[in-house]
């Protein structure tokens, strides 16, 4: 027990049920989040094998990907979407899994409701059939995405067969400059290490700039860890974490709270713990970022220009850039701030929380969405929506010409009515800009909430610091 361990090592060791000679482990899963897209076949598998859900009390389900963000009392128009949500409802009833129904105020995007309910806690193992499960790592939990077969495995056994990942630490020291946010930090990181830079690793984010982030900022950073190829992202729990959790519905209370906090304080990495890879960045070097291409790694500061393929020596890389420029309808050398958009989406598990809506409203206040721009603000849960309305943020946004919606995954991924038409171009606070992500032929530029609001006002990608400097 004397070798110094990282946060990841400690959580891993605390959850091993069995280890094979070759190092493959069975690990216990503390919390299983379930949504409607990746669970139907898993429940069907249980049914066919005559199995039950082993720990319904450690499971929570919600519908988020297919739900409309307009009036839900009208039901879901798309028949396949409707069937998928109804299937989840039948499954949770049959198997006794706790569920936030569509008309429950606590309903929302799965990675937003977990933390806000206090279901996500430090030191836990948390899984969901969704790659952005990495979000929960902001609490110092080992949280990662799994496929439907593994969803079935967790439902049946509350465990997973896994090999431990390697440890990577990314330290960001200093202070983020004015107008630069957690979203810009993670885009800068992915731009630096690439879309496979974290493959095989869990990334622990450290340093004074990370410590200074709120829990919501930490969630944004951890959310996009998967876009760097990492298994999971982690931020060590601290007073900020405990403050956020205290009093939330599913957080421990009373004597249990004291015991839990004491346990959580034992989790941060030991001094001298060794990481397989270490990267250091300076917060002062980070600027407001935008993506130009079809990978989250195609991220550049707003003041930069679109890459010129002819300046790229490597043939493979040059072909990729040419393909992206073709798909995105951009020319090498053009200023990123000259790129006109027609759609703005503020929301998603990356940036759909109250601080994100406050940031958008702060830019929108007293200004108007430009002519011809469709701009949606989609709160990440019913509770976020209520809080935003209490703060009058909805009125500010509506007066500026933004649409104010109900909670769901919305335009992140074109599974519900909110999508881009071919050729449309968005400034989006979501997490992926792949070809067709927001709709076939749709062109996505990833940005922070403040940058998205700025683009809505000017009609093109804009340095938000010029608007609110």
């Amino acid at each position: 027990m004397s070798k110094p361990r990282t946060l990841f090592d400690k959580i891993w060791d605390n959850h091993v049920v069995d280890t094979q000679p070759d190092g493959t482990c069975v690990i216990y899963i503390d919390k299983h989040l379930v949504h409607e897209v990746t669970s139907p076949q898993a429940f069907e598998g249980l049914r066919l094998a005559g199995r039950k859900v082993h720990r319904p009390d450690a499971t929570i389900a919600v519908a988020d990907h297919n739900v409309p963000t307009t009036d839900r009392s009208l039901g879901i128009e798309d028949p396949e979407s409707r069937i998928q949500v109804e299937t989840l409802e039948k499954n949770v009833a049959e198997f006794g899994v706790p569920y936030f129904a569509v008309d429950d105020v606590r309903q929302g995007i799965v990675h937003i409701i977990g933390p806000e309910q206090g279901l996500t806690q430090p030191g836990m193992t948390i899984v969901c059939g969704d790659s952005h499960t990495s979000t929960h790592g902001a609490f110092g939990a080992l949280a990662f995405g799994i496929g439907t077969s593994e969803v079935e495995h967790v439902l049946a056994t509350q465990t997973l067969i896994q090999r431990p990942a390697k440890n990577m630490r990314i330290t960001v020291d200093g202070e983020l400059p004015f107008g630069v946010t957690a979203k810009d930090m993670i885009l800068a990181i992915i731009g630096k290490i690439g879309t496979a830079g974290g493959t095989g690793h869990v990334i622990e984010y450290a340093g004074s700039a990370v410590r200074a982030l709120s829990m919501e900022g930490r969630m944004t950073v951890c959310n996009m860890s998967i876009e760097a190829g990492a298994r999971a992202g982690l931020v060590a729990p601290d007073e900020t974490t405990f403050e956020y959790l205290k009093g939330r519905p599913s957080a421990p209370k009373g004597a249990a709270w004291e015991a839990a906090v004491s346990y959580w304080k034992s989790l941060p990495s030991d001094p001298g713990a060794v990481y397989d890879t270490e990267i250091v960045m300076k917060a002062e070097d980070i600027q407001p970022f935008v993506t130009w291409g079809n990978s989250p790694e195609d991220a550049l500061p707003i003041g930069a220009t679109v890459p010129r393929p002819e300046e790229i020596a490597d043939e493979g890389k040059r072909k990729n850039v040419e393909r992206a420029l073709g798909y995105m309808g951009l020319t090498g050398g053009m200023k990123l701030s000259d790129i006109k958009i027609d759609t703005v989406f503020i929301g998603s598990c990356t940036n759909g929380r109250i601080e994100d809506i406050r940031a958008a409203a702060a830019v929108a206040k007293g200004r108007r969405v430009a002519e011809g721009i469709r701009a949606l603000v989609v709160p990440g849960s019913g509770l976020v929506k209520n809080q935003a309305e209490e703060e009058g943020l909805d009125k500010i946004l509506l007066e500026a010409g933004f649409e104010w919606r109900e909670a769901g995954c919305s335009m992140c991924l074109a599974m519900n009515a909110d999508k881009l038409k071919p050729g449309e171009r968005s400034a989006s606070t979501s997490n992926r800009n792949f070809e067709g992500r927001q709709g076939p032929g749709g062109r996505t530029h990833l940005v922070s909430p403040a940058m998205a609001a700025a683009a809505a006002i000017t009609g093109h990608l804009t340095d938000v610091r010029e608007l609110v400097g």
């Binding site: 990907h65 706790p98 569920y99 056994t157 496979a196 190829g229 067709g436």
Partner: protein
Amino acid sequence: MEKFETLTGIAAPVGDANIDTDRIIPARFLKTIKRTGLGKHLFNDVRYTSDGAENPDFVLNREPYRKAEILVTTENFGCGSSREHAPWALHDFGIRCVIGESFADIFYNNSFKNGLLLIKLPKAEIAKLLEDSQLGQNARITVDLENQQITRPNGETIAFDIDPFRKHCLLNGLDDIGLTLKHKPKIDTFEERDRLARPWLYTAQTAAG
């Protein structure tokens, strides 16, 4: 799960790097509640034009690749989402093996749960197989899992590494859940111990209703 022992089949080249799971199976096809039927939507938005006609330039629309059982690719295949619909679509199309320089973690795990063999090879070996896959009717390679060997059309062999546990499960068509339930007593022991160490995780959570 079906076993994987030896496979001789047509290898199709999909040489781009970073082929993401949205490209492999776009989100609108994830509304299915079944594991089957996704083969016709594999690579949908690059395989068909916007009016639904086959794109004649896309490799899987050309003979003999319409019957490809093997894909040869480069770096970071399967990056992006955790959707297991990606390996389901590959499997339903008829693919049983993907050979590449590297794969994204979640896609890699998901593939093995569906009897797909994923093989990682260095750039130089991939270059040879990409050449082979351009040979049309002669783009036929053999993958032997037991002996961890690929045989090229010209008879040359390429050795590959594979995690022994994954190999064992594929060769024997083993079901993960069945395997894990053999450890049920250890799971019970863990839970008993954990209830004492972290009792706050075992009280009824505040949930719906």
